[in-house]
């Protein structure tokens, strides 16, 4: 078998599967977001007009929460690298019949898989709301594209960070400091059009905005004309961070 696939199998078996309790934990929060916050805010927020389609707030929020899962998943899966460093498995594998490329790719792909799995589970949780939306093949392409590019971005980002991290505490601290602004300065919770200009400007640099927009468009079946631009921006941002992660890996201390 390809040595990359063997590394991937290792990540899934020894890395992700061992964090299965955390995955369950991660699913509780979105449940509350969608079914508690979504409906409670929905009661005070009038029906929203998204691209000519009238939807309740909960339907606006759900795609954002699904997208956020890939960010959370990436942050947990990113910890796999520093766990590998802590138990000297990182050096052990780099001295084995593998290349650094295969190692980092296996990590990126396993983070993507975890992101997709988490998003899919939240998708299932939210599915009662989504019945009757009638997702088209094009919409599905957008949904998958959003999740794949989004997890590539956040996976690479957490990997690049964890290269430089020496303790679990600092890893968690950095992620928390990073995640909260990313979460709120995006179109996850509110439509950007009505937000103050400063918030709009910052949010436009946030890849989460683009991933949320893409997923929302795919889910609701409304495609803004500038949507393809968002796809390109997200793809470019993902590429940049992916390359950054690879460069960081070349410098990693063992």
């Amino acid at each position: 078998m390809n040595s990359f696939l063997r590394l991937l199998y290792r990540d899934l078996k020894a890395g992700i599967w061992s964090t299965k309790s955390m995955i369950v934990m991660q699913l509780v929060t979105p449940l509350f977001y969608i079914f508690v916050a979504g409906f409670a805010y929905g009661a005070v927020i009038p029906t929203m007009n998204i691209g000519g389609r009238n939807v309740g707030y909960v339907l606006f929020l759900a795609p954002g929460i699904i997208v956020m899962q890939i960010m959370f998943a990436a942050s947990i899966a990113g910890a796999m690298l520093w766990i590998d460093k802590r138990f000297a498995m990182f050096a052990q594998i780099l001295m084995g019949p593998f290349s650094r490329w295969q190692y980092i790719l296996s990590k990126v792909v396993s983070i993507m898989l975890q992101g997709l799995l988490n998003a899919f589970l939240v998708f299932l949780i939210a599915s009662p709301l989504l019945v009757g939306l009638g997702i088209s093949p094009l919409g599905l392409a957008y949904i998958v594209g959003s999740l794949v590019l989004g997890s590539l971005f956040f996976g690479s980002l957490t990997l690049a960070i964890s290269v430089f991290i020496r303790s679990n505490e600092s890893f968690n601290a950095i992620l928390n400091v990073m995640i909260t602004p990313l979460m709120f300065l995006s179109s996850v919770y509110y439509p950007l059009e009505n937000a103050p200009l400063a918030i709009q400007a910052v949010s436009l640099a946030n890849p989460l905005t683009y991933a949320a927009d893409m997923l929302r468009a795919g889910l609701l079946g409304v495609y803004a004309p500038h949507l393809f631009l968002e796809v390109i921006v997200l793809a470019v941002e993902s590429l940049v961070v992916f390359v950054a992660a690879i460069i960081a890996f070349r410098r990693v201390k063992t």
Binding site: F4, A91, M95, P97, S99, L105, A141, L149, L227, V231
Partner: protein, 369 residues
């Protein structure tokens, strides 16, 4: 509003989904192309080296960490099929040398080849042929002892049937059978170390690096481990072994290099090193009363470094000599010609410990332990 789906926007959307799937393509392509590069993992045969029987060759190998010189222009050769000991105190540069030889670190200058391949440019040819037991404890935190062994064998592409067989053998050899279902976090230090050493024998290799592999092992397990290593060497493996425990080196190593402050101080068989650098052996001599001018005769002997006379009744007289054998035969001559009654006469070899401490403390600082 312009949101209505029209042909133009659908085209753009189509284009954009191409972009995202382009990512899949790029990733898939890189995976495939990477697979092409590690073609020669299948040969686990213990092929004898073509290069004049040397497994490792370094020339002026150097590694600096900033201004600190960890390994300082080190040149040595390891023969195929031997157990090569790399001895030095903590921080001498042993681990850094291993990291360079196992392609983990790039040398600052100098060169090294392992199994005939350059460590910088041909790392991917080296790695499938070597095994490494790191000094640092290493295991999969989330898997049981058995799971650790199995996954490691899987990573080395060992077929499932063979993995099963090896696991059973290694669990017995390293006394891990009782804890096979236990996670490493619940194991003792010694058990974790045994797991780590056992793990490396899940796959075959031509050259194994053992970086202080017996740290934390009790004497009995240490002996079993070293015997297992020797067994493997007899079937064709070469071993690069670092330690600071001299008796261990004496027990297992064919040749040793003594390294300190990043420089090799000596490289030879243990006997030769003792002879050349240990300097002197000690002859203990005790005779029954009536010395008959013995001391005067001893002082006239050639090749004697110094004589220490006994301070107390039952202490032996000590003759320090470089070539103890030659001096001993002279002493025997004196004794026979004087008709003395010998109570004790023997040569005490210096231990490798003595040699080692003398070498790394050339100023003669006394070692207290």
């Amino acid at each position: 509003m312009g949101y209505a789906a029209n042909t133009k926007s659908e085209l753009l959307v189509l284009l954009s989904s191409f972009v995202s799937f382009g990512w899949f393509m790029v990733t898939g392509w890189s995976l495939l192309s990477i697979n092409l590069f590690n073609e020669d993992r299948s040969s686990f045969l213990l092929v004898k080296q073509k290069l004049a029987g040397y497994c490792v060759e370094t020339t002026e190998l150097t590694k600096n960490y900033g201004k600190v010189v960890a390994v300082d222009h080190v040149s040595f050769k390891v023969r195929s099929g031997e157990i090569f000991g790399f001895l030095g105190p903590n921080g001498a540069g042993k681990t850094t040398t291993i990291k360079m030889l196992t392609t983990l670190l790039r040398p600052t200058s100098g060169s090294a080849s392992v199994l005939g391949f350059d460590v910088v440019s041909e790392g991917s040819r080296i790695r499938p042929r070597i095994g490494v037991v790191q000094q640092e404890l290493s295991y999969e935190m989330s898997l049981s002892v058995e799971g650790n062994l199995d996954l490691y064998g899987f990573l080395w592409n060992v077929p499932k049937k063979e993995r099963r067989e090896r696991i059973e053998l290694l669990l017995d050899k390293f006394g891990l059978r009782d804890v096979r279902k236990t996670g490493p976090q619940e194991l003792s230090m010694g058990q974790r170390r045994r797991l780590q050493v056992a793990r490396e024998f899940m796959h075959d290799c031509e050259l194994m690096f053992l970086d202080e592999p017996t740290t934390g092992l009790d004497p009995q397990v240490r002996r079993i481990t070293l015997d297992f290593v020797r067994e493997k060497v007899e079937s064709g493996m070469t071993v690069f072994f670092t330690t600071h425990i001299m008796e261990e080196a004496e027990y297992i190593c064919d040749r040793i290099a003594i390294i300190n402050h990043g420089q090799i101080l000596a490289l030879d068989t243990i006997d030769n090193i003792k002879r050349r650098f240990g300097g002197v052996s000690v002859i203990h001599l005790r005779v029954a009363d009536g010395k008959k001018g013995l001391n005067r005769k001893l002082e006239k002997l050639s090749g004697v470094e110094r004589i220490v006379y006994p301070q107390q009744e039952d202490e032996p007289l000590k003759v320090y000599a470089k070539d103890a054998d030659a001096v001993l035969s002279q002493i025997i001559d004196i004794i026979t010609s004087s008709g003395l009654h010998v109570e004790e006469l023997r040569i005490k070899e210096p231990s490798l410990d003595d040699v080692f401490i003398q070498m790394i403390n050339p100023k003669g600082g006394s070692h207290s332990e």
